[in-house]
């Protein structure tokens, strides 16, 4: 498990990338997908996920559609056209950041 501090800056990128790859997802599905893809090493908390999803919606990067399941409502999140562009930008930015960190911390040399 990684620290919350470390994950905080990458949460938007993670969500945008997952939505780019999976068309539409609901909150629980996102948390499970992250757990599955990272083999439980990253667990997105509900307290971080939903505020971020709502902020992304307010920014116009994601759109929502609802489905009624009995008395409750399931909200599916998907990327808007600007969200798709944003997802590409964020992934590119994070990849570049990781490369810089590898170089800065001299990780390649230590791994070799």
């Amino acid at each position: 498990m990684y620290s919350t501090e470390l994950l905080k800056g990458t949460l938007k990128t993670i969500i945008l990338k997952l939505l780019a790859d999976n068309k539409k997802m609901y909150g629980y599905e996102i948390t499970q997908k992250v757990k599955e893809l990272t083999m439980d090493r990253i667990q997105i908390t509900e307290g971080a996920l939903y505020p971020t999803l709502h902020a992304l919606e307010a920014d116009g990067f994601v759109t929502t559609e609802t489905e009624f399941i009995g008395k409750r409502i399931r909200k599916y999140y998907s990327l808007s056209p600007t969200g798709k562009t944003k997802a590409r930008e964020k992934v590119k930015e994070l990849a570049s950041f990781i490369e810089t960190m590898i170089s800065l911390l001299d990780i390649k040399q230590k791994l070799a």
């Binding site: 629980y28 709502h54 409750r72 399931r74």
Partner: protein, 172 residues
Amino acid sequence: MYLISDQQIDFILDDLEAGGIGTESLRYDLLDHICVIIEQNLEEGEDFEQFYRSAVRTFYREQLREIEQETALLLTLKNRLVLSRNRFFFLLFTLIGGPFIAYTVTGMISPSPTAGWNIPFHVWAPSFVYSIFPILILLVLYLTPDRLDPVIPWKSKVVIGFRPFIQVVSFP
């Protein structure tokens, strides 16, 4: 798979609202999330309320309302400057005291006969009041957070932007 009844859904919704989740869409997001967890993990015969309480407890650090506050904060923060309470007071006092201190320093280094440590009263007195006094207020605020909380509560953030210019976002 456990099947949640309508009464249990109402119970969860009421509990979320009582816990400080005032935004309806956020409440329904959390409701669905909780329902999926319960449906997939609660065994028949297990205590629903106890399971619900333990499941929802993993959502937050201290209080459920943190999720609502975090959401409100993220929605409020767009293109705004967010300052902690101490930073806000520091900025405020710097703006108030800064010109007086600059005036004093200028008085000290200027080539006039009154330059140096021989600073006239009308220069050093306002500087003292407008710089030392606010620092004392900051010290009192820091040492007695509970008593002086009404204006800007202890764990609140001060958001500076446009319409409104200053907004206090509280974290009770």
